[in-house]
Every structure is written in C-alpha cells, then in structure tokens.
Amino acid sequence: MAGHVVVKNLGISFTGKDKTIWAVKDVSLEVKSREFVSLVGVSGCGKSTVINSIAGFVPPTVGEVTVDNQPITEPNSRRGVVFQSFVLFPWKTVFENIAFGPRSRDVDEKAITESVDQYLKLMGLMKFADHYPQQLSGGMRQRVALARVLINDPDVLLMDEPFGALDAQTRIFMQEVVLNLWESTHKSVLFVTHDIDEAVFLSDRVYVMTAAPGSIKSVYDIELERPRHADIRLDQKFLLYKKELYEAIREESQKVLGPLPTF
C-alpha cells in the first residue's frame, strides 16, 4: 500500500540577514497509508513549512522526510498539494487547469477529455468548464484545485489550510466534499488547519504543534465512527476531543499573543 509518509526529527531553518531562523524544530509525525491526519497549531508555528517539505518544495535542514521509504528530493505528482490561495492558473480555463497534469505527461488527448469531464461532473462544475478561475466563487475555485490534483491519482494529498479563505458555510460544505472523496478513494491525507472543529471532524489522528519554532506538542487519536456526518459535531465524544485540543492550542496561542489585556 502506497502513501506512507514518515517525518523524523525534521528541522528547517532559513538564513536571515545575520541570524538563522528555525521555522520548525524537531517535528516527527506519520501518515500511514490511507489515513487522514491533521496538523493543527497557531499561525506562524511552521505548519505550512512541514507540508512544503513533504511536497518537496523546501528541503529539510536536519532530519528526514520519506514517502514509502524513499527520501523526498523534489516535487512529484504522487504527492498532490492543495493550497489555501487555490493557486489556479488564471491564464487557463477550468478545463485546462484540471487537464494540466495529464497534459504535462503527454497523455492521449481523448483520454484527458474523458477524465477531465469525469472530475468536472464529480465536483459539480460541468457548466463551468470554459470559465476562467477569476469568474468562479472561492468554493468552486477550491473544487477546481482539488480536481486538478486528484486527476493525477496521487498517493498522498497535502492540504495546506485549504478552506482558510472560504466563508463558514462554504467551508462546512467543502469539508464534507473532502470527506466523501476520501472515503471513496482512501488516499493518505495530511491536512493543515488551525480550525479545531475541522480537524476533529475529518481526522483519524491530530497532531498539535507548539508555537514557533514548531515541534509536535501532543497527538490525539480520534476514535469516531466512519462514515461521519455533519451531526456528529453534537456528539459527546466529538465535544470531548474538541475540548482537549482546544486546551492544548490555547496554551500555545497565549505564548504568542500574551495574556489577555485587562481593562
């Protein structure tokens, strides 16, 4: 089974003007094949850096990152990335954006059309094939971005706060879209978010990061039944997980934001 991600003692530093800044320090985590794992932490803790490293965008300074025992040296379509800002190509139509991957691999054009159509249908975007991304709403753009990645049939899906730019209703809708997709395809997913509710709802396991420079603070196995539906949010067990995570994150956010001001 493919898509087994292992991050071991990962540290990434950037050299500033006259000092070295550690974005993350000593991060170890694992996404087993077909698992849905979330990484939560306060903003600036280096969550995205971890994703960028697994994607192959940023090399580790120390430690190692492997997928199926292979160290990562560069980006690859086996590991699809979904960005918070969508990063669709504005010079390509919805169809062309989704077809980008297979076209890069010189797949037969007829096969590309069939498979793009299939993803357009799956995402409810059939009518928008010839639109440009700038003409779509945020939720639709993120569905295009998902389709653009899924069409390559990756082993691992790396999602970097994918719904951070969406309004609350669209966000909940998209969470269910992703959950349904995951339940039918069972890819390994690493999902970065700062939304605790989202992390508990989606994940098999949640890693909480410390404030910058980020390392892993604690791990929670989310033992809720699958398939999950929206109403699970009112379940007693769900709320207990939320409470635990909330307390862990609050400790970290206070390190960053300081104590509450008194009036």
Partner: protein
C-alpha cells in the same frame, strides 16, 4: 450608443469652441486656424497623395522599431530575470544606459546612421527597449513561486515550466510595458523625424513650421494624435482577442 453620444459631446463642444474663437478673430487666425480650415488642409494633402506617403513612412518606422525593440527587451529581460549569471552581467549595463533620455541620442543617431530609415528605426528601438526590458525583467523575476510549486507538484517537467507557467504568469506585467512603449515609440519617432528627414509625419510638422503654414502643420499634429490613438486601440484589441483571460485578471483580484 447613448454612451457614445455622451462621450462625443465633449469633443464636439471643443471643436465648436475652437472654430468660434478663431472665427471671431479673438486670436490671429493665421496662428490659430479654425478646425474647418485644418480639415480642408488635411483633405487636400490626402488627395495630392503626400499625406498617405508620410503616414506610410512613419508607421513603417514606428512598427519596425517597436517590433525590434520589444523582441530585444523581452529577451534580455527574460534571461536576466530568471538566470543569475545573466542578471549579474546584463542588468548593470542596462541600468547604466537606461537613464539617458532617448531624445539626447537623436544627433548621435544621425551622425552614425544618416538621415535615412536606419537612424529612425534605431531611435525607436532604443526608446522601446528599456520599458519593455523593465516590465519583462520584473514580470519574469517576480513570478509567484506558488505557481511554480503548484505546477511542479502536478507533474510538469522543468523544461516545460517556461512556456506553460513563467511566461503566462509574467504576461500582465509585460503587456503593461508594451502598451507604454507604443506611445513612447511615437514620441521618439516625431523627435527623430523633426531632426532630419525627407518624409514622415514628424518631418512635415517641422517643415510647415519653417514655412509658416500653420493649418497644414496643425493637420499633421492632429494626424499624429490619431495614429497614436489607433495604435493603442489596436494593441488593446489584439491583446483581448489573443488572451481572453487578461481582462478578467486585470479587473479582479
């Protein structure tokens, strides 16, 4: 249509005002001929065949200089914007030459290339090169790295990155530079033609000045404005036809 009528009102009003001011002899009509006289001068110059020849000569020089200058500017900007070694060698050279106002080079161009086509084309080339270089350099060197990351993680091969991602991502910046260069091309051309030539719109403006035929001179000035307007509109039209996404990207985000 309503929009068009509204937009024309101001221009029509300006023409009527101009006609009235010079008819009432408020200003010496010899110095400030009314639009009716300028238009009739333009008509007779067209019928005599002189004006079409001038327009043809000027447009040819402008287009030749613009095309050559743009190609050079795009190319040098692109390689220095993306490849470190070229950036280190070429950028200082460009930065040293760029502050020289191109008009200052007119006499030198005439000494080097004579009064014929070569000096005009060279000057337009020179004038167009720098703004296009700047836009190409900035556009290419500042391509959002997320585009490149996204493309790489979808599986694009390195050698396809240029055409598929880097160039299109830089295009909005480049197009702005090209459009600025069109009006610049005409400014440089007029200066070059005025300084010495036998043919061309700029040359006529200067020649009629010397023989004090103000109505014909003003006719050619208006013509120059019309040429610039048509060139700009044609460029905008072609861009929108060739890149339907461009307008959308400029209006939003």
């Amino acid at each position: 249509m309503r929009q068009f009528a509204l937009r024309s009102t101001g221009i029509i009003f300006l023409l009527i005002l101009w006609e009235l001011v010079s008819r009432t002899n408020l200003i010496d009509p010899g110095l400030f001929p009314p639009p009716s006289q300028v238009i009739s001068a333009l008509v007779s110059l067209t019928l005599s065949g002189q004006l079409p020849k001038d327009v043809f000569a000027s447009v040819l020089r402008a287009v030749a200089g613009f095309v050559l200058g743009s190609i050079a500017g795009l190319f040098v900007g692109a390689v220095s914007g993306r490849i470190r070694a070229f950036d280190a060698v070429l950028t200082p050279v460009v930065q040293v030459l760029r502050p020289i106002p191109v008009i200052a080079l007119v006499p030198l161009a005439i000494v080097w290339f004579g009064l014929g086509e070569a000096s005009k084309i060279f000057l337009v080339f020179w004038g167009v090169f720098f703004p296009v270089w700047v836009s190409s350099y900035l556009g290419i060197s500042r391509v959002d790295k997320n585009y490149i990351w996204a493309a790489r993680s979808i599986g694009i091969r390195r050698e396809k990155l240029w055409l598929q991602v880097i160039v299109p991502a830089a295009l909005p910046t480049i197009i702005t530079g090209l459009r600025t260069s069109i009006s610049l091309a005409f400014i440089v051309l007029v200066a070059a033609e005025m300084a010495g030539s036998y043919l061309g719109v700029g040359y006529r403006i200067s020649a009629y000045h010397l023989v004090f035929q103000i109505d014909k001179m003003m006719g050619y000035i208006v013509l120059m404005g019309a040429l610039g307007f048509i060139a700009d509109r044609t460029f905008a039209y072609l861009v929108n036809r060739a890149l339907p996404w461009y307008q959308l990207s400029v209006n939003q985000d």
